[in-house]
Amino acid sequence: MKRRIIIMYMALMLLTGCSGRSAGWQTGNVTLVRAVGVDRGQAGVMLTAWGGAAERLTAEGSSVAEGVQKLQAMGDSFVHFGHADQLLLGEEFARDGTAQLVDFVARDRQIGPGARLWVLRGGQKTGETNVAVRLERLAGDRESGAKLDCSVTGLMSAMAREGSVAVPALRWEEDQLQPAGYAVLRQGRLVGFLDGEQSLGLELLRGQSEGQTADITLPDTQPLILSVRRADIQCIPRLDAGRLVGAAVTCEAEFEVIQGARLSVGQRQEAERQAEEALSRRLVAALAFAQFWDADFAGVEQMLRMACSPREWSGVDWERDFRTLSLQAAVSAEINWPADMAEDGR
């Protein structure tokens, strides 16, 4: 028994784990990459790695893997990608290069597939060093930034089912990265961007519309600003002889007032009508672009699958039918009027 214990302890001495690493691998000598930028470069792919506030490395290669290897060989410290949780894709690269990136991340042991994706509109700005910090700030800010997010896993999942996905987009404005709608990737390729009403419509359809505002203009009174508290989306299929020919996208929304004066009954009714119209415009805009690009980034297929019976769905060829489906939006809005805005008798 004693001999066995001694042998076991001796075997433990061999399990040092770090013996294969060189003497320079110490925490003070490691660059922890927090964000990685990928764009087209002269050699093929240009990669930029951002660490803390002042760390930035750039390398070019014929592929993402080669670029990462060159980055790891740069500088005086060891470059470690294990903490990279933000990936910033250049617009040009997103048009046809995401499959390469997704494949690399799926196999790489350092960059995790949970890394968050962004698409940068326009070109990369050289010299900026605080990108990682800014991206982390934007990722955590759902109120003023993008309400939807997309990870590499989400993109892989969309590509596996040959579907589409919306990735938050950014743009350089006054030397700072600012939210700029969403980039739509169809089967991993960038087909366009959603701005303004379309991006708000996307957030409505995906159930992330809380906090969206609607500006209501009424005569003889100051502007009324409403905020969405809740919006329930449903997709009701329309069938013709057992065949899916269209769908009604209904939205039941609840608003709260964030700015406004006292209103009469008639004015309140007009406000509700305008609020419904505002949400309806957003839904129609998002759905129109989805059909134009043949990219179901809003998940209409999923909603219709849930609403149809298995028998009704069995006859649907979504790839063929989506573009020609008649999609209509119908919104009903309810505004929670605060007590001080009610005006009796007028």
Binding site: G82, P113, G114
Partner: protein, 347 residues
């Protein structure tokens, strides 16, 4: 202390069956559609029925039912299949570790290390093996449960609905799930003392597996999970606790080696009970099988199609035939049945 109890044997066989289950089921059940995650729970009645069947068919009674030559031939078939199972699972396990971490040495060294460890464990008394396997089972279940819990908050409902899918595909997934668990038939080769077989293990483990598969599908989606080589490993790369740890794939890969070890020790014990002093040859055969130069696609084909079919045969078809033959013989020779003297024959 030296007699293995029924509970310990049951824990050992369940720990052993977790190894192929977590390797094969995430991708196979994803191919069955959004409802595929329920396959382990749906396979419960089949598992209970198989347990009853194995109780009635004594693995040591091959010779009694088929005669000495037939019994020996059948035993050889089971041993050979055990070598195939061991080799395939060991190859998959080493591949999983390679994908999770940068192995500083050649894969065959890890393969050899695992085989030597299994050899060391299987050379002792079965009760000691089973006690270790009980701890391994609890460790693996705790690890899988933790991964499932951490991944639960990232589950997207759209990846799981609608639950109804193609009926035939879900039936197929249930069949493969049952076939994976048929590896537990090898528990009958290990001598066991008295005791009641715990009834909670099947339900608990199937429920946990279903929960795990639900989180895999909910995170990755069925299309992606069906395409990936190891969806569970990809999922574990996404889970973590902010500020504590980010990814769990290397921990999970290490923990799952316990289940692989439980399977190897069970299979080697099978060889030991049948081959007596020659049983280390089986360990060598498992090592050789694990080091065969096969491609990843060939290994995938063997793991997901050939192995479940073979398990089905050794775990269901052959026992059913043996039971039918045994009952037929019993009816013919009712007056001449000699009771067995003290042999333990229940699973």
């Amino acid at each position: 202390m030296n007699d293995m109890s029924e509970r310990q044997r049951s824990a050992w066989t369940w720990a052993a069956s977790l190894a192929p289950a977590v390797a094969v089921l995430p991708a196979v059940t994803a191919r069955a559609g959004e409802g595929g995650w329920a396959a382990p729970v749906l396979a419960l009645p089949l598992i209970w029925a198989a347990d009853r069947l194995w109780e009635q068919v004594n693995a040591r009674g091959f010779c009694r039912v088929l005669g000495s030559r037939g019994g020996c031939a059948l035993t050889i078939i089971y041993i050979m299949w055990a070598v195939v199972l061991g080799g395939v699972q060991l190859r998959a396990a080493v591949g999983r570790v390679e994908r999770a971490v940068n192995l500083p040495a050649a894969p065959w060294m890890l393969t050899m290390g695992v085989v030597l460890l299994a050899l060391y464990l299987a050379r002792g008394k079965p009760a000691a093996c089973a006690r270790w396997a009980l701890l391994a089972l609890h460790g693996v279940l705790a690890g899988l449960g933790a991964v499932a819990l951490l991944a639960l908050r990232q589950v997207r409902g759209v990846n799981l609905l609608p639950v109804w899918g193609e009926g035939n595909e879900l039936l197929g997934a249930v069949g493969v799930t049952f076939a994976v668990f048929c590896v537990r038939v090898y528990g009958g080769f290990v001598p066991c003392g008295s005791g009641k077989r715990p009834g909670t293990y099947p339900a608990l483990i199937c429920a946990l597996l279903s929960g795990l598969l639900l989180t895999v599908q909910g995170n990755l989606g069925t299309a992606l999970a069906a395409q990936l080589e190891d969806p569970l490993l990809t999922l574990s790369r996404n889970v973590g606790v902010e500020g504590a740890f980010q990814r769990a794939e290397s921990l999970l890969a290490a923990l799952l080696l316990l289940a692989d070890l439980a399977l190897l020790t069970l299979l080697l014990w099978t060889a030991r009970s049948a081959m007596k002093r020659l049983w280390p040859v089986a360990a060598l055969a498992v090592f050789a099988a694990a080091c065969l130069p096969v491609s990843a696609q060939q290994l995938e084909l063997v793991r997901c199609q050939i192995v479940p079919t073979g398990n089905f045969v050794v775990g269901l078809v052959i026992p059913l035939i043996l039971l039918a033959v045994s009952r037929g013989k019993d009816r013919k020779a009712q007056a001449h049945i000699v009771p067995e003297n003290g042999e333990n024959s229940t699973y």
